[in-house]
């Protein structure tokens, strides 16, 4: 193993790291460099995607610290794509100064996600989590003109660091009981030794830490504030990229590392293990997320509480376990991430036009911009899980995977709860669409729109954003009509 070979296998991460430094340097130049920085960042991400394609199909470095499999390559590409769309979104934030620094942080967070996805070793997972987390905390608090941004950053930081401390302490106990930091080796050890109280504590604390990261109730309290207060692009990336990578690594930890301690969450056959813990988190998330979302009047906050509910649905696949369940979880979280980036993109453009993101600001969007209204309709209906959109197939796949596990449809209670939750969720998603398509504009908004202020940018300048939103909407529609491609890709990549 020489360094050249290492560089070859870590080429995508290296490309993104170099791009981050270049963007940072470009941002220092005087004058209007925001456009150049965005172009450089986007180009770097495209190069990194090409580098992912060039990777060998299978390789393992340093005992699992850096693993290349079809699965990791697929999810690296997905993380890079999400970052790419976020870069485009970040252009529309007119309050963002120091665009170079912002994009450099975004790229650093992307490296963290890639390390997280491509590692099967506790130390590297911790480093990836922290690199992602620290970059995202700063991104959440980046808008210095808005005091709510700093508040969102602080809350995200405090909750996120507490979560990391929990994960770390849990991992230290797991390490102590197993004497190794590789996930596969931990799985082998757990098979051989009985689960002791200390080990159980370690597993539960690790899960609590990840529950914070994926915003599962009751550890979701940071999410609404971070989604609402942070700059829109940061919120979009926190909600999409960070979540996808967290689910991938959580799935790897529980299904590879802790596999022998799975237990069962079946209604009549409860067996102690991590599955009942995740099932409880899922059930609570579905109930809390959906019920609290009903009462929201701010679209970003509404999306945050719905994110809590969706974390609950996604956990269903992990509770079910096995290839089927993990595949369903991965498919659902991918679809969800693309949908949410799109929804936040619409929010960003509405916010730029009207100066806010409450439901009242969305009123009569159909007459102002039919394209945005149509895209938002697709995103919302996909989140609600209506056919023929991707959200419907994702939920169908998840629920059927959960039903098939175990004898006697043991997880039926959880699936029934999830179905009930989706039914409730239809109400608040349709409330957004009602504001867009049915309600008349509020007088304040009309006045604002008729008053051509100098800060308002011309419609032509957000041409790229609109195109990318249309692309995302088409992706969501396409994955709903023809989900087979991505499913085959994911299931084929699973070990």
């Amino acid at each position: 193993m020489n360094y050249l070979e290492l560089l070859k296998l870590a080429a995508p991460e290296a490309v993104v790291a170099v791009t981050a430094l270049v963007v940072l340097a470009l941002g220092l130049a005087r004058g209007r460099v925001a456009g150049i920085c965005s172009a450089a960042a986007a180009a770097g991400l495209l190069f990194a995607m090409a580098a992912v394609v060039m990777l060998p199909p299978n390789a393992t470095l340093f005992g699992g610290m850096h693993v290349i499999t079809p699965l990791t390559s697929l999810f690296k590409t997905i993380c890079l794509t999400l970052a790419f769309f976020t870069v485009i979104l970040a252009r529309s934030d007119r309050s963002a100064r120091n665009q170079g620094e912002y994009l450099a942080l975004l790229l650093l967070a992307t490296i963290g996600l890639m390390l997280l996805v491509g590692s099967e070793e506790l130390l590297m997972i911790f480093i990836g989590l922290e690199l992602t987390g620290l970059s995202l905390y700063v991104m959440a608090g980046f808008d210095k003109t808005d005091p709510r941004s700093a508040e969102a950053g602080l809350k995200y930081f405090l909750f996120g660091s507490t979560a990391s401390a929990f994960t770390l302490f849990g991992l230290s106990l797991v390490y102590g009981m197993c004497g190794t930091t590789g996930l596969a080796a931990i799985g082998g050890k757990l098979d051989a030794i009985p689960v002791q109280p200390l080990l159980a504590a370690g597993i539960v604390m690790t899960l609590i830490g990840f529950a914070f990261k994926i915003a599962a109730a009751p550890f979701h309290l940071w999410a609404p504030d971070a989604y609402q207060g942070a700059p829109v692009a940061s919120a979009a990336f926190i909600a999409s990229g960070s979540k996808v990578a967290s689910f991938v690594v959580l799935g790897k930890i529980v299904l590879v590392g802790f596999a022998p301690a799975q237990g069962s969450a079946a209604w009549h056959g409860l067996i102690a293990g991590w599955a009942p813990v995740l099932a409880a988190l899922a059930a609570l998330s579905i109930v809390v997320g959906n019920l609290v979302a009903l009462a929201q009047s701010n679209v970003r906050r509404l999306l945050a509480y719905s994110a809590v509910a969706h974390a609950g649905y996604t956990l269903l696949g992990l509770v079910a376990g096995g290839r089927d369940g993990f595949g369903a979880t991965l498919f659902y979280t991918t679809v969800y991430a693309f949908t949410l980036v799109g929804a936040f993109g619409v929010v960003a453009l509405v916010r730029r036009e009207t100066g806010g993101d409450d439901l009242t600001h969305f009123r009569a969007l159909r007459s102002r911009s039919p394209l945005l209204a149509g895209c938002m309709a697709i995103f919302m209906l996909s989140l609600a899980g209506l056919p023929p959109l991707a959200g419907f197939f994702g939920k169908f796949y998840l629920f059927s995977a959960a039903l098939r596990t175990g004898a006697n449809h043991g997880l039926l209670w959880l699936v029934a709860l999830a179905l009930f939750g989706s039914l409730i969720s239809l109400y608040y998603y349709l409330a957004v669409l009602k504001a867009i398509f049915v309600e008349e504009p509020s007088p304040a908004t009309t006045q604002l729109l008729n008053d051509p202020r100098p800060t308002r940018t011309s419609p032509s300048s957000d041409f790229l954003e609109r195109i990318s939103l249309a692309v995302l909407a088409l992706v969501v529609l396409f994955l709903g009509v023809l989900p087979g491609g991505l499913v085959t890709l994911i299931v084929g990549a699973l070990p």
């Binding site: 130390l123 608090g141 700093a150 508040e151 602080l154 507490t162 302490f169």
Partner: protein, 106 residues
């Protein structure tokens, strides 16, 4: 002779004190210090495990000690980011008390 159990008890205590501080204290700086305490609890237990769980060759498992160095470094980075966010918040609000930070709520 201090045993592994005793080290783990101290580590658990440190973690509990840290978490209690995060939950109960109202000053952000103190909350921040409590967070660091939680990380150091993990450090202590990692080093203790490394020292007491000897391998077949009688050597400690050095993985955990390397892990600790990384945690120390990451904790330093976390301090930098955290203090920067606190300063940004202080400039906007002139306060470091969590009760005053309530513009975003249900």
């Amino acid at each position: 002779m201090v045993t592994l159990g005793q080290y783990l008890i101290v580590s658990g205590l440190l973690f509990t004190i840290g978490f209690a501080g995060v939950l109960l204290r109202r000053n952000i700086i103190i909350i921040f210090m409590s967070l660091e305490l939680m990380l150091n609890a993990a450090n202590l237990s990692l080093v203790a495990f490394s020292r007491f769980r000897l391998g077949v060759d009688g050597m400690p498992n050095y993985n955990a000690q390397v892990f600790v160095f990384f945690i120390i470094t990451v904790a330093a980075a976390e301090v930098a980011v955290g203090l920067a966010i606190i300063v940004a918040l202080y400039r906007a609000r002139q306060t470091t008390h969590v009760e005053d930070i309530n513009s975003l709520k249900f």
